[in-house]
């Protein structure tokens, strides 16, 4: 040892204690170890035992200490004392706050429950908040799915009983070719990075299909820089190539999909386009054993893909014949789509051929016997090792639902869903649309709603319409404008409430939804709607209650603020009844618990709802004697029973903690979770690990675990009959008819087999004037603003240039440091630009929600987020440009109502350098002051 080398303690104490809970820095919900020193949070790392992240943790999670201690944390309930939008508040007591809310809400509940619109943003407790809204009796409840990714979720559920992320994942351990579509750097965060690491380690390949080559696409072996909004066309061209070459898994299609189900092909029949059904209502196939009709699920039946059936003068052909007719058409030939997609025809063919090569030449087999629902025993599991993942990039378009459907059809014809090497569902999924509830909207003053708000419509009879055809919901979900709006339309609530269409409301109650900033299209317009007054000088939206943990832009626009806790100060359950965290090989749920107690006068929002629900005397929230049923959210988590034996948490049920999935209430359940590291995990039996929808081994286990109460095997719906029912109505069939102005659109968009059509905005916008596509992505190191602007993370992403491809960069003569005016049909912004070569030649993009409004988030008014950061939201309207018919056409997918963020078209021109990004909205007064100038955050000094 050198004389100069100091003595060093290489085994210092790490912490006094490790408390294990669940991260909330994004929607990934990883397990975290919170190291405590002197009762304070000292360091956060990933929990190695946790099924989601297995020890790793992203930049956001590791910066949780800065979120938890942020200067922007709200400190006490607030009552607005200035004009809306001014930020003038007075701190009040919880009693005063809850009394105020009760005084507003009680008369509404007793007279017109629909006058409350309760929307909960990035809520991770929707099974609870939905239960609360149901007890209140308003039909107006949803979370943020409508402006996020409902196309993905709904297309997946209707097609195959689940989509990606919370529903399913690639078989990272076996896949040989992974194709990633769209902007997906945040959903789901760590598991995708871990999966990419795994496939790279094994030497498997990855293809990125994305206009932007960053993040995951930067490490993809091949990059397909597709034109935004054309993914569906590209996918259907690959379907064309594969079908034309017979590179489809016939055995899989025949047995496990409705490719073999017979369809009525008589245009004169009321049943045209519907399945041939037996007297029990079961869709019919031709059994290859007998050549005769048989129900799809009959014992020993071998469905025939080719057999047709003619009876009473009507021809019935299997779905697969219709698919051949459609997709073999030259309309879907690579040459026909290449220019539009921005991908050469030969490249499309090569990609299709590569999928075929890997799926069929590199098939894998696992020696695991299993039994299917027809009683057939299989001695092994055959895998097609190609896998896919997609998220908002393909779904946030007005053709997103059909595009997501197209992707699932591609997966299915390759035989690569729920097989080794393909895509795998995560229990409690798969679950077909028919096993989900239908939407409910029947209002009875003073009483609960007739059932859960959100669900899956099976036909026109399930729409939430009054007898006069007007919408029951404020967001017009489940109407002819968007018949399958499974997550509601949060982005339309304020706009519709302001317009009084379909009706006016009294109170807007929101949680974790930054609607006056990045969570709304048309940010400036929405802030005006929130502050507009009527001829009497009263606010058009009379009352606004908002709950947030931080001083977000939305706080200033509310009349009453319920300050929430940070994620380390609260109870939560990551429930199977909600958006679960399971893995393909295991069912899991988890909790958050207060690893530190709040040092402010704040309360967990869900606990506040328990109190408010009791004050309002709502069913489910009061005991028989009228007293408060759940003292707080922890009490609800432990004691609430949803169905016999099933509660919010599936683990450690029964008094002794022995119950798995089903069981009685366990008063020590939360402590059992804490002792187990904050989560519960039960592995899927090995012979049930694949083929879950078709496997009796899985179905029996699923019933045992309480996912559902009777086995419900099903087959994948290449042809979605409920879509046909809506389409048929548009053709004039049936009692419940759409309004005339929507007929033509419904005929096109409600196609029961996937189709592609151009973005709806393209029909309303001059594409010569606005030729450029504009997108956003979320950075991996920063989520959107449901937390604060984090002191560490803002040093990584403190402002956001508009990234411009080489062609546009050169055409405008841009140089480093330049600014540009970017305009859409709706508005314009002036923002800094930066060059990016690895980008689709006709696309610009920026990071989402880095831009902040002055005065928010306890930031200095000169913060780069406010001076150089910006939102694209100013360019996007919640309505399409007027068509001159006086109607309000939503900028949404016509099937699900998903906000079509990525349909945006712009033009771009060089601008003089302004003082700051435009539009610069005036500063709002901060209710929490400003953060400290210097940090040296060491707890254990």
């Amino acid at each position: 040892m050198s004389l100069d080398q100091p003595q060093l303690d290489t085994s210092p104490a790490v912490s006094d204690e490790v408390r294990k809970t669940t991260c909330y820095m994004c929607a990934c919900r990883c397990g975290i170890n919170v190291h405590m020193k002197d009762g304070k949070v000292a360091y956060i790392e990933g929990n190695k035992d946790h099924p989601v992240n297995q020890g790793v943790l992203c930049a956001k999670g590791s910066a949780g200490i800065m979120q938890h201690n942020a200067p922007s944390r709200l400190r006490a309930p607030l009552k607005r004392v200035g004009e809306r939008g001014s930020g003038e508040f007075e701190e009040i007591s919880w009693e005063e706050a809850l009394t105020m809310a009760t005084d507003w809400l009680k008369p509404i509940r007793e007279q017109n429950p629909e006058k409350l619109a309760f929307f909960t943003g990035r809520d991770q407790s929707q099974s609870f908040t939905g239960f609360w809204a149901q007890g209140f009796g308003t039909p107006n409840f949803a979370a943020h799915g409508g402006f996020c990714s409902v196309n993905m979720a709904a297309a997946g559920i209707y097609t195959m009983g689940g989509a990606f992320w919370e529903f399913g994942q690639p078989d990272w351990d076996h896949t040989k070719l992974f194709m990633l579509f769209g902007v997906a750097e945040d959903h789901d965060s760590n598991p995708i990075k871990m999966g990419i690491g795994k496939i790279k380690e094994r030497g498997a390949r990855m293809i990125g299909v994305n206009p932007i080559r960053t993040g995951y696409n930067a490490v993809a072996d091949d990059w397909v820089g597709i034109t935004p909004g054309t993914d569906g066309l590209f996918i259907l061209a690959m379907v064309h190539c594969l079908m034309k070459a017979g590179k489809v898994d016939l055995e899989y299609l025949a047995r496990f999909t409705n490719a073999s189900v017979l369809i009525n092909e008589d245009p004169k029949s009321e049943q045209f386009g519907l399945f041939l059904r037996d007297k029990d209502g079961q869709p019919q196939v031709i059994d290859r054993n007998t050549g005769k009709l048989a129900p799809w699920n009959g014992k020993g039946v071998e469905p025939d893909l080719a057999g047709t059936h003619r009876a009473k003068g009507v021809t019935h052909r299997p779905v697969f014949h219709q698919m051949a007719d459609r997709y073999l058409s030259d309309e879907y030939a690579p040459e026909a789509v290449a220019d539009r997609c921005g991908i050469p025809a030969q490249r499309i063919r090569a990609l299709a051929a590569d999928l075929a090569r890997v799926a069929f030449d590199e098939a894998i087999e696992l020696d695991r016997p299993w039994t299917d629902f027809r009683g057939k025993k299989h001695d092994k599991m055959v895998g097609r090792p190609v896998s896919f993942h997609a998220m908002r990039g393909i779904s946030a378009h007005s053709n997103g639902f059909q595009t997501c459907r197209a992707l699932h059809v591609l997966q299915i014809i390759l035989g690569s869903v729920e097989v080794p090497g393909g895509m795998r569902f995560k229990p409690p999924y798969p679950k077909p649309a028919t096993a989900h509830p239908k939407p409910h909207g029947k209002v009875t003053p003073g009483a609960a709603l007739d059932g859960p708000h959100l669900g899956y419509t099976q036909g026109p009879e399930d729409l939430l319409l009054h007898d006069d055809g007007s919408p029951k919901r404020i967001d017009k979900a489940y109407t002819w404008e968007n018949p399958m709006s499974a997550h509601g339309l949060m982005h339309m609530v304020i706009s519709n409430a302001h317009a009084g269409v379909p009706y006016k409301i009294d109170t807007l109650f929101m949680y974790m939804a930054n609607m006056s900033w990045n969570s709304s299209m048309n940010t400036g317009g929405v802030t005006k709607m929130l502050t507009d007054k009527d001829e009497n000088g009263d606010y058009v939206i009379p009352h606004i209650i908002y709950s947030d943990a931080y001083s977000s832009e939305m706080v200033a626009y509310a009349d009453l603020i319920f300050p929430d806790t940070t994620y380390l100060e609260r109870h939560d359950c990551i429930s199977l009844l909600d958006r679960p965290i399971c893995e393909a090989d295991g069912v899991a749920d988890a909790i958050r618990w207060p690893v530190v107690e709040p040092d402010r006068d704040v309360r967990g929002f869900q606990s506040v709802l328990c109190d408010l629900g009791a004050r309002l005397g709502m069913p489910g929230f009061v005991n028989e004697d009228g007293s408060q049923k759940y003292q707080d959210y922890a009490d609800y988590i432990t004691n609430h029973i949803r169905r016999p034996g099933v509660g919010p948490l599936a683990g450690f049920r029964n008094e002794d903690g022995s119950g798995k999935g089903r069981g009685d209430v366990n008063p020590n359940q939360i402590q059992n979770y804490i002792d187990n590291g904050g989560f519960w995990l039960e592995h899927v039996p090995e012979n049930a690990s694949y083929y879950k929808p078709f496997s009796m081994d899985y179905q029996d286990w699923a019933v045992k675990m309480g996912f559902y109460d009777a086995v419900q095997p099903y087959i994948f719906q290449l042809y979605v009959e409920p879509l046909r029912k809506f389409q048929a109505a548009a053709e004039g069939i049936g009692e419940r008819q759409p309004p005339e102005h929507l007929r033509e659109r419904l005929k096109v968009t409600m196609d029961p087999l996937p189709i592609w059509y151009g973005a709806l905005e393209d029909d309303q916008v001059d594409l010569d004037e606005y030729p450029v596509h504009a997108l956003t992505q979320r950075p991996m190191a920063m989520y959107h603003s449901w937390g604060t602007q984090n002191a560490w993370l803002r040093q990584i992403h403190g402002h956001n240039p508009l990234y411009v491809p080489t062609k546009i960069w050169e055409a405008n003569g841009f140089a480093e440091g330049d600014w540009a005016k970017v305009s859409s049909a709706h508005g314009s912004i002036v923002v800094p630009v930066a060059h990016q070569a690895s980008l689709n030649a006709n696309t610009v993009w920026t990071w989402n929600a880095i831009g902040k409004r002055k005065g928010a988030w306890a930031l200095d008014e000169g913060a780069t987020e406010a001076t150089k950061g910006f939102l694209l939201n100013h360019l996007i309207h919640e309505l399409l440009p007027p068509k001159g018919d006086g109607l309000r056409w939503a900028n949404s997918d016509p099937v699900t109502g998903q906000a079509a963020w990525f349909d945006l078209r712009v033009k771009i021109e060089k601008s003089a350098v302004p003082n700051e990004a435009q539009p610069a909205m005036p500063a709002i007064k901060s209710p929490v002051g400003k953060g400290p100038s210097e940090l040296d955050w060491k707890v254990g000094k």
Partner: protein
């Protein structure tokens, strides 16, 4: 001036896989968290909520584009921290002996109580891997988590640098690059691991694994047999289907 000790047999360091790094900054922030709470002075932040925030980081990820002569541009994510050089100019330049290279494992450290914050070492480092903490006035650098890797208060599996433990994509590897049989040395040998800026003569211990070639999917000609048409339209397809089905097991009707 400070002398370098004789070379240690054990050369602890990192191997960073540029083929796998997705540029997520997990390592950056995990490092910030651990080293703010642990070894020496905390890593401070100035204007933390102000106009021009800046702070001390021991590890940063840089991203840059590469435009090949043919084909699409590529984006490379490049994490950078101290490379624990064998011939470390930051050590020899130190006027007080505060900078030193450990004899037992080759880790380069700063003894903060002897550091006068003169900044010579940061100037001497060709990699820009050292940062002077603006609040404490001492030089900060990657310690290879010397307070983790031997720490008996941590479970054995956690005795690795914070950045390696947290990396979601598994792009960071830690081990003894002085042992040619170690996992990290094997990885370097298999994947053609390289030194950063070898012309500087610093002999870095850390190694980088190069990105695999990109956009090299075979042209369609090679793959064409996989798409040999069986039919030209729906009708032809149904004809093919009949034949294909009858050829399948139990298919003869």
């Amino acid at each position: 001036m400070t002398q370098l000790p004789p070379l240690s047999a054990k050369k602890l360091g990192l191997v960073i896989d540029l083929d796998t790094c997705v540029g997520c900054h997990a390592c950056v922030v995990s490092c910030k968290g651990w080293n703010t709470e642990n070894y020496g002075a905390p890593l401070s932040d100035q204007q933390a909520y102000g106009a021009n925030p800046s702070g001390t980081f021991l590890n940063r990820v840089h991203s840059f584009e590469v435009q090949p002569e043919q084909g699409e541009a590529q984006l490379i994510h490049f994490p950078k921290s101290c490379l624990h050089c064998e011939d470390a100019p930051c050590v020899t330049v130190c006027p007080t002996g505060a900078s030193y290279k450990r004899t037992e494992d080759g880790i380069v450290l700063v003894n903060e109580s002897d550091c006068i914050g003169c900044g010579l070492c940061a100037w001497a480092c060709p990699y820009g891997a050292r940062e002077l903490d603006a609040k404490e006035g001492v030089m900060k650098k990657c310690t290879l988590c010397v307070d983790r890797i031997y720490n008996e208060n941590l479970p054995e599996e956690d005795r690795q640098p914070a950045c390696v433990r947290t990396c979601p994509a598994g792009a960071r590897h830690f081990g003894d690059l002085g042992d040619e049989n170690s996992d990290v040395s094997q990885l370097v040998a298999e994947r053609g691991g390289f030194d950063l800026m070898p012309e500087q003569g610093t002999k870095p211990v850390n190694k980088y694994l190069p990105p695999r070639p990109k956009d090299e999917m075979p042209e369609f000609d090679v793959l064409a047999p996989y798409l040999e048409p069986v039919a030209q339209d729906g009708k032809g397809f149904v004809g093919w289907l009949d034949k294909a089905l009858s050829a399948m097991p139990g298919g003869a009707k």
